[in-house]
């Protein structure tokens, strides 16, 4: 039958549904959280089970500065999204760029740490169980930072080209959810690797 005959209800119905972008992002975050959970469980299960060195307490140093960088980028991206909602594209661009810079600084921190571990301490992914779990967990998180930075940079490029406006505030909000998630995961990874595991 023709669907016009489907209008069986009289009058208008108050109809409100959640935004699909937001739900989709929450689904992605749930899936990613499950993946990280398995890696974190493996890390915790294997703490102290390495049969050979180097051991975490000998080689790991706590990356306080770069952790502050990454966590403060959550604040800048939140303020950026808020500026865009208010319609201030300029301050959005500046804060967005700051977010990218802070994320890149964090990646630089990871890179220098890995360089030191590999070339100075002789710890690679195949050296021992600690190396396997450490590089996998921190690397998986680093991969997500890279993915986030690529997405943020695309938005940045579009902003510079002048095609981002306050009408995109909802989408930018959805993307910032992912970035907040990456930051939140780092709190867990940091706790597990540098506090419990050391």
């Amino acid at each position: 039958m023709n669907a016009t005959s489907m209008t069986v209800a009289e009058g208008r119905i108050e109809w409100d549904r959640p935004a699909r972008g937001r739900i989709g992002m929450f689904g992605l975050i749930a899936a990613e959280a499950a993946i990280f959970t398995i890696f974190v469980v493996a890390y915790l299960f294997y703490v102290g089970r390495s049969l050979t060195g180097p051991m975490p307490k000998d080689v790991l140093s706590v990356p306080v500065f770069y952790t502050i960088c990454l966590l403060s980028s959550s604040l800048t991206i939140h303020l950026a999204a808020k500026s865009l909602r208010r319609g201030s594209v300029l301050s959005f661009g500046i804060l967005w760029l700051a977010t990218i810079a802070l994320g890149a600084a964090f990646l630089y921190g990871t890179a220098t740490e890995w360089h030191r571990l590999i070339y100075k301490e002789g710890l690679t992914i195949s050296t021992n169980l600690f190396g396997t779990t450490y590089y996998s967990l921190v690397g998986l998180h680093g991969f997500h930072v890279v993915a986030g930075l690529v997405s943020l940079s695309i938005v940045m490029a579009l902003t510079l080209l002048g095609s981002v406006g306050s009408e995109h505030a909802e989408r930018v909000d959805v993307l910032s959810l992912y970035w907040h998630f990456v930051d939140a995961v780092w709190i867990v990874v940091f706790t597990v690797v540098y506090v419990i595991g050391r």
Binding site: M1, I23, S50
Partner: protein, 558 residues
């Protein structure tokens, strides 16, 4: 009651487009209906392939000391059979139906993310091709490949470089990783579609049960397939980068792979069975001419199953030796999941009770589902008792149990769904006589194979052995089990024949051949690309009932 056909839009007759253009349309499509059909065709192809593998396994076991295939080929056959059936037959089937039906049932024009939908399908499709490419490429690209042979749950250390030389295990890992991304993408899409795309008036409490059960299924896929993805990444690290996750000689653990696999593996059973429940929950009411009994309890039971299913995985590991406390927890949680499942069975029975039952082919499959799934659940409760599993773990009793679930439960419900919604998808009816013949052959074959498979298990026959000694009392049972395979194969052939019959000889179905009540029957068969000329507005769980009976609409009673 008015005929709904009177409202069908006339279908303009156009000259057929060239075949290349039509194929191009199918490859580049983002239409949920076409992607649904692609999923289903893809699953049918792999159903035949994995069915042939099962036949090879059973032919090898038809008599003791048989040498139909070598032990190596036997290992490859049961690995490929299991992997293919779970990941490339049942899951694509279910995603296909979910894709096709959910937007139609909730009055939407497409899924929430049509391009993600196409991406997910092609990931799954290429995952399947990757698995079978191992036949060519597993030992390098000179064409002398072999298939994965580590079993479908691929326990360590079988998968380590030392014990799995060549690349067959890598193909297995990558195939599951790639198709896993596809599954997660589709699951996110289903969740977003159900939550965000419902037509006006369709509150969560007014959704068809089909959408509810698929929503819970999709949530489970998100939470269950992701751990598998993580475990596959770890396996790749071990195999390619020299990692030690599952390497016991470096302090790693083989048992943790079991945990990670079954954290995926057990919710996966419910991922597969919830859509089967969804089919049955739509088909039984229509052919009993009654609304579903206890809608809200059904929803509650489904959500309960979703939660409990996340905490039962280690009942696959009672024989590992996990200790009394862990075993007790998993015994109790496994028994607990039988409660909401039992609630569902009683609800379906109560729906049929006092109804005017029409024994059409879909209904026959659903009734068989009810009793077979009940029996499968009962052996499941038996196996949930840890000391019982200590005796029968890894025996043919376990194989018989889970085939009772997957074939007797899920596949029967799938065939029911196939016959029920085929007229909607193709616009043509199937042959009721051939459908009933298919049911009869498959029913006989199923019971010959899987009823009698319990007995060699009870007599101590382990699974995955490629042959056995005569005189242990297993011979006659194995013979009967293999004979059943031929009936099942004949049933599948009749089924495929019925599809062809329907295509060439089937009469037009009209928009609503079953006098059903959900929104997909309100549009043409097959539906136009946009599904609904205008978005429907609903006021009850059975919008078509309201339309057909304006004097006595459902919303007076809900």
């Amino acid at each position: 009651m008015m005929s709904t056909d009177a409202f069908a839009l006339p279908r303009p007759e156009l000259a057929p487009r060239p075949i290349v253009a039509r194929l191009h349309d199918w490859v580049t499509t983002v239409d949920h209906k076409r992607l649904g059909i692609l999923y289903i065709i893809y699953a049918l192809v792999f159903l035949v392939i994995a069915g042939i593998e099962a036949t090879v396994i059973r032919l090898q076991l038809i008599r003791p000391h048989n040498d139909f295939v070598s032990p190596q080929v036997f290992n490859r056959m049961f690995t490929m059979h299991g992997t293919t059936m779970i990941f490339f037959v049942v899951m694509p089937f279910l995603f296909g139906f979910a894709n096709y039906l959910i937007p139609l049932m909730i009055g939407a024009r497409d899924m929430a993310f049509p391009r993600l939908n196409a991406f997910s399908f092609w990931m799954t499709a290429f995952g399947g091709l990757l698995l079978y490419f191992s036949l060519v490429g597993a030992n390098g690209l000179y064409g002398a490949g072999n298939a994965p042979d580590v079993g479908w749950f691929a326990y360590a250390p079988l998968t380590s470089r030392t014990f799995s030389v060549g690349h067959s295990t890598d193909f297995w890992t990558l195939a599951l990783l790639v198709s896993g991304f596809g599954s997660i993408g589709t699951a996110i899409n289903i969740v977003a579609t159900v939550l965000c795309m419902r037509c006006p008036g369709m509150t969560l409490a007014k959704m068809p049960l089909f959408s509810w059960l698929n929503l819970v299924m999709a949530g489970l896929v998100i939470l269950a397939v992701s751990p598998l993805t993580a475990a596959q990444i770890m396996l790749l690290v071990d195999r390619y980068l020299g990692g030690h996750f599952f390497d016991t000689q470096a302090g790693g653990s083989a048992v943790i792979w079991m945990h990670f696999f079954w954290i995926f593996g057990h919710p996966e059973v419910y991922v597969l069975v919830l859509p089967a429940f969804a089919f049955v929950s739509e088909i039984i009411p229509v052919f009993s001419r009654k609304p579903i009994f206890g809608y809200s309890v059904m929803v509650g039971a489904t959500v309960a199953i979703g939660f409990i299913s996340m905490s039962v995985w280690a009942h696959h590991m009672f024989t590992v030796g996990m200790g009394a406390n862990v075993n007790t927890f998993f015994v109790l949680s496994t028994m607990a999941i039988a409660v909401p499942t039992g609630i569902k069975i009683f609800n379906w029975l109560a729906t049929m009770w006092g109804g005017k039952i029409e024994f059409k082919t879909p209904m026959l499959f659903c009734i068989a589902f009810l009793f077979q799934f009940l029996a499968a659940g009962l052996t499941g409760v038996m196996l949930s008792v840890a000391p019982f599993t200590w005796h029968l773990g890894n025996s043919y009793f376990v194989v018989a149990h889970f085939h009772y679930v997957i074939v007797g439960g899920i596949l029967f419900a799938l065939f029911g769904a196939f016959y029920y919604w085929l007229p909607k998808m193709s616009g043509k009816m199937y042959s009721e006589a051939l459908g009933k013949l298919h049911f009869l052959l498959f029913f006989i074959g199923f019971h010959l194979t899987f009823d009698f498979m319990h007995i060699p298990g009870l007599l101590g026959m382990p699974r995955r052995i490629y042959t056995y000694e005569p005189g242990r009392g297993w011979d006659v049972w194995n013979f009967i089990v293999t004979v059943g395979v031929f009936f099942q194969a004949a049933g599948i052939l009749v089924f495929l024949g019925n599809l062809l019959w329907s295509h060439f000889r089937g009469k037009a179905a009209g928009s609503d051949p079953w006098d059903a009540w959900t929104l997909e029957w309100s549009t043409n068969s097959p539906p136009p690309a946009y599904n609904f000329a205008s978005i429907p507005v609903v006021k009850s769980r059975r919008p078509l009932w309201d339309l057909k009976h304006p004097a006595d609409p459902d919303w007076n009673y809900e």
